[in-house]
Assembly symmetry: C2
Homo-oligomer: 465 residues x 2
Amino acid sequence: MTYAPVADVLAGKYGVNDTVTIKGWVRTRRDSKAGLSFINVHDGSCFDPIQVIALNTLENYDEIIRLTTSCSVSVIGTVKQSEGQGQSIEIDAQSLEVLGWVENPDTYPMAAKRHSIEYLREHAHLRPRTNIIGAVTRVRNCLSQAVHRFFHEQGYFWISTPIITASDTEGAGEMFRVSTLDMMNIPHDEQGNVDYREDFFGKETFLTVSGQLNVETYCTAMSKVYTFGPTFRAENSNTSRHLAEFWMIEPEVAFADLSTVAKLAEDLLKYVFKAVLEERLDDMTFFAQRVNKDVITRLENVVNSEFVRMDYTDAIEILKNSGKAFEFPVEWGVDLSSEHERYLAEEHVGAPIIMQNYPKDIKAFYMRINDDNKTVAAMDILAPGIGEIIGGSQREERLDVFDRRLAEMSLNQEDYSWYRDLRRYGTVPHAGFGLGFERLVAYVTGVQNVRDVIPFPRTPGNAQY
Amino acid sequence: MTYAPVADVLAGKYGVNDTVTIKGWVRTRRDSKAGLSFINVHDGSCFDPIQVIALNTLENYDEIIRLTTSCSVSVIGTVKQSEGQGQSIEIDAQSLEVLGWVENPDTYPMAAKRHSIEYLREHAHLRPRTNIIGAVTRVRNCLSQAVHRFFHEQGYFWISTPIITASDTEGAGEMFRVSTLDMMNIPHDEQGNVDYREDFFGKETFLTVSGQLNVETYCTAMSKVYTFGPTFRAENSNTSRHLAEFWMIEPEVAFADLSTVAKLAEDLLKYVFKAVLEERLDDMTFFAQRVNKDVITRLENVVNSEFVRMDYTDAIEILKNSGKAFEFPVEWGVDLSSEHERYLAEEHVGAPIIMQNYPKDIKAFYMRINDDNKTVAAMDILAPGIGEIIGGSQREERLDVFDRRLAEMSLNQEDYSWYRDLRRYGTVPHAGFGLGFERLVAYVTGVQNVRDVIPFPRTPGNAQY
């Protein structure tokens, strides 16, 4: 049987006095002495539940007055203009069927009261039933849809780069091993090393840390491509900004330099923030009331601001002349730390900064060397209230320069043979960036910990469900 | 500098006599005795390259006549109505800059000639430069965008279920272990077993085989959800239909029975096929000419057909009475094999079949027991020309029935505690299905082997790049 999403009923897509069926879960029930009950029914389609009014003349009213939070119900009723406060439309029940009871409501883990965010995390299978995680889920979905739409409208192709990989060429950190070897009976080769020839893939394999190098192969054939998939870091980081498993968005653009992708990143952020403001104001209003009062205004500020381009070298001067006593001293050549980034974005500029041209010694081997031979065409986008949200670069497309850089960094040409092929055969200037999706969702919603913006977070010691 | 995608120029988005810049890679070059060269330039934005006409009056014409396949170029030129055959629009070059040469054209692996599909697979980093893999990439992107659009328009939320998981509850087959333990120094516990307490997650973890059980937790809170992410099978299957790493689409719908999701699956397939026919007729025409002449007509047939619902029990009768000598004998209770499925879909019905209500003994523990207590509310969609393309079921939402089934199958209640919670607290009828994305792309394009429809295929012994 078809039924109406609560979002559609509340949005006025059905006429007053129409009969509709809604299905969902009870949020709260309140009985009136006048012989009727007010039941808030939620189905996840929008932030608000809808109020159902059930009279004691309904044949199963004895059941209705036993309804508790999370009981599932199917209601046939009449759409009414509400006279109560806080909602515009309500439903007069013609019938209410209980689909599922809650076993022992007194011990139900998601009873209708305030729970700490840490408590919710320990009940990750039930937490989508709460206001906050429901709102995060809708905003997360809105952002992901907007990301795909943004790239699709501009002629980018989504590329699924491999999750399991045999190369640690990115060198971005510790990796998870993927194996089917019998751990109680590891095979060894003649030299006494683990014999990965007997493993599933015939060699040692890992979970990917980034799809960038892989997606460059498609960029240098299809021009405009992007990835949107899971990536992994086996880092023992127990912070509010780190996950062992997280989703990444990585566009890669041929015939592009650093300023082209800096503009692309700015356009992308503005596009997806606008989508959230237009499509999910219900959830954003909740976040502004309960989580961080600035979440809406800071998105609006980003949408309406011109991102400020700043050279790393100039930033160092600004920081030195700031008169601030930073915990980490500032000197040309150091990596900027969070306190520096926040000072620049929040106090000095008051708008997102596209920081460009970092010292080559603190950046990855694939970034393009600038003419000064000291810096690379790399950028980070620093946003007020969160710090670094995007990191990107122009890639070194000149084979001779690339080979010199590999040698300088004591990296092996043979390990990069397929990557070098892209420079040997019709090389083109190209550039791209990476955007950590959970950090984006955390920034948009104001939720402090990335563990609360992904359904089942993976962190050191945690892989439940 | 901005430039025009070849797709836009060929689609007539620029006026005749407009000056445009295009950037791309040379496909072919032909020199005329009249002192000019015809250069086909491709940029991946559509199937066709654009023809550039370069006169020998260009100052670097000596370079131009040395251009070979895959050299990268930037062309400024005038849009012209073409008088040649096969293209409507061409470009008269005002200038042509060579961005990147091809090192040793004679040994360039993707030289302009026919390569076998197996040869291309061995050069997976260069194969997107070919007609066939370029076309697959655009169609794959079109399908994935259409999948997200379909669900988003209908109010579904995309849920990213975990890739790394500690539970093998689906029991769908062999899994890959994920670990950071030192393979040369495996820790053991008091009993002499591997001590996974010392592993990254504090327990043994694997790559997911399906997001279904996880996404049910969101379905029973948000009503309409879907996953679209990578899944893994450590099966030693070297067939044209198996990958160790593949992408899956898994919608899960609350307040739904089997027929609701059967209809959803039918609508989804029709929607995405229509998108391909509307948006990628250029690539589909290529597949029809070079790969399988039926690819367009069979998509049109699916779009225009009414899927036929058929009970497993009736199918067995039809197969028994078919007079066909099948390799695998048919008896109520057996799993249908490919020859049976193809006979039914291709010969008996001639349209996609939604096969329903399979014997419970050949299906998974979570499928809903029908009133006959012999069958479950499961379905497979069988398409002419490929066989099974979707598998789904209504889930057992009745706690007592579910517990009896676990006991019957000697499964442990404690292993399913969080899954059982969904049945203890406001349980609702719900159903869903899984669609293997690579099999879908293979079906749409007519490409025989799923290894050729994913950028970097992972199969036993293969994890290159």
